[in-house]
């Protein structure tokens, strides 16, 4: 009985995870810029992987393999966002302009565009002590 449940659960987890992983990969193609692709990667690297690996862990039952898989999942959940964050920050610092900022600005007119640009500048500044525009919050 528990075997069957475990098999079903693991199968679902693996399949759903694989679906998310694949969807993320499709996002790699479909998303228009780096930052939007970042979200697609997120789908693959966290949700997809975590689900597949948990499915495998369920499949493995109470074995060392399951323990290792759990550690692998924890590691990925811990280091993944840190990596994504580092990548995004580095890209911004290197001058890669997020599509969102531009599009958003275009809709709100030139004034907003200037503000957005300042936001980016502030976010990418190496020493962000200087006062940052608070407009983003109020908006």
């Amino acid at each position: 009985m528990t075997d069957i449940v475990a098999t079903i659960v693991s199968g679902i987890l693996i399949l759903v995870g694989a679906g998310f992983f694949l969807t993320g990969a499709i996002g790699f193609i479909r998303m228009p810029d780096l930052f939007t692709r970042l979200h697609a990667a997120s789908l693959s690297d966290t949700t997809g992987m975590a689900l597949i690996l948990s499915g495998l862990a369920v499949h493995a039952g109470f074995t060392v393999a399951a323990v290792k898989l759990v550690f692998l999942i924890l590691f990925l959940l811990f280091m993944g966002p840190a990596t994504t964050h580092a990548l995004a920050a580095a890209a911004l610092a290197a001058g890669v302009k997020p599509l969102g900022a531009q599009r958003h600005a275009a809709r709100k007119g030139p004034l907003k565009a200037a503000e957005t640009a300042r936001t980016i500048e502030a976010a990418t500044a190496k020493r962000p002590q200087k006062p940052v525009s608070r407009k983003g919050k109020r908006r």
């Binding site: 550690f71 590691f75 811990f78 280091m79 966002p81 840190a82 964050h85 580092a86 920050a89 580095a90 190496k126």
Partner: protein
């Protein structure tokens, strides 16, 4: 990068489990693929990660350059010494059987020591390579 609190905390958090995992691989080399080489790579990767995020100076406080430069030959020396001892005890080079009264224990000891040598050399070589590059780019 290291000013970034996300990465700093992540790196600090991951260090201890990583080192433990490295040594786990080292000590369980007999039971599966692995051993000194992977363990060395993992441990070195941990130190390098630490250096990447917390700075070269911080990493070198952890593992100094002088230590690294001596660990490389020391690892090889362990390897060679095991071989020499087995020769002195009447076996062929790297024949572990004569290392203990019981060939099985001889094998255990031999494998362990040789893997330890491999670990040290791989670990320190990787770190040395990284230090060499990092210090050059910083200068």
């Amino acid at each position: 990068m290291r000013r970034d609190i996300v990465l700093r905390v992540a790196a600090k958090f991951i260090m201890a489990p990583l080192m433990l995992f490295a040594l786990y691989v080292q000590f369980h080399g007999d039971y599966g693929p692995g051993g000194g080489f992977q363990a060395g790579v993992i441990a070195a990767a941990g130190v390098i990660l630490y250096a990447l995020i917390n700075g070269l100076a911080a990493a070198q406080r952890l593992v100094s350059m002088a230590l690294v430069e001596r660990l490389i030959p020391a690892g090889v020396l362990i390897y060679a010494a095991v071989g020499l001892v087995s020769m002195a005890l009447g076996g062929n080079f790297l024949d572990y059987n004569p290392l203990a009264h019981d060939p099985v224990h001889g094998q255990e000891w031999g494998v362990f020591l040789v893997e330890a040598g491999v670990f040290l050399t791989v670990f320190s070589s990787m770190i040395a390579i990284y230090y060499a590059f990092a210090s050059r780019r910083a200068s």
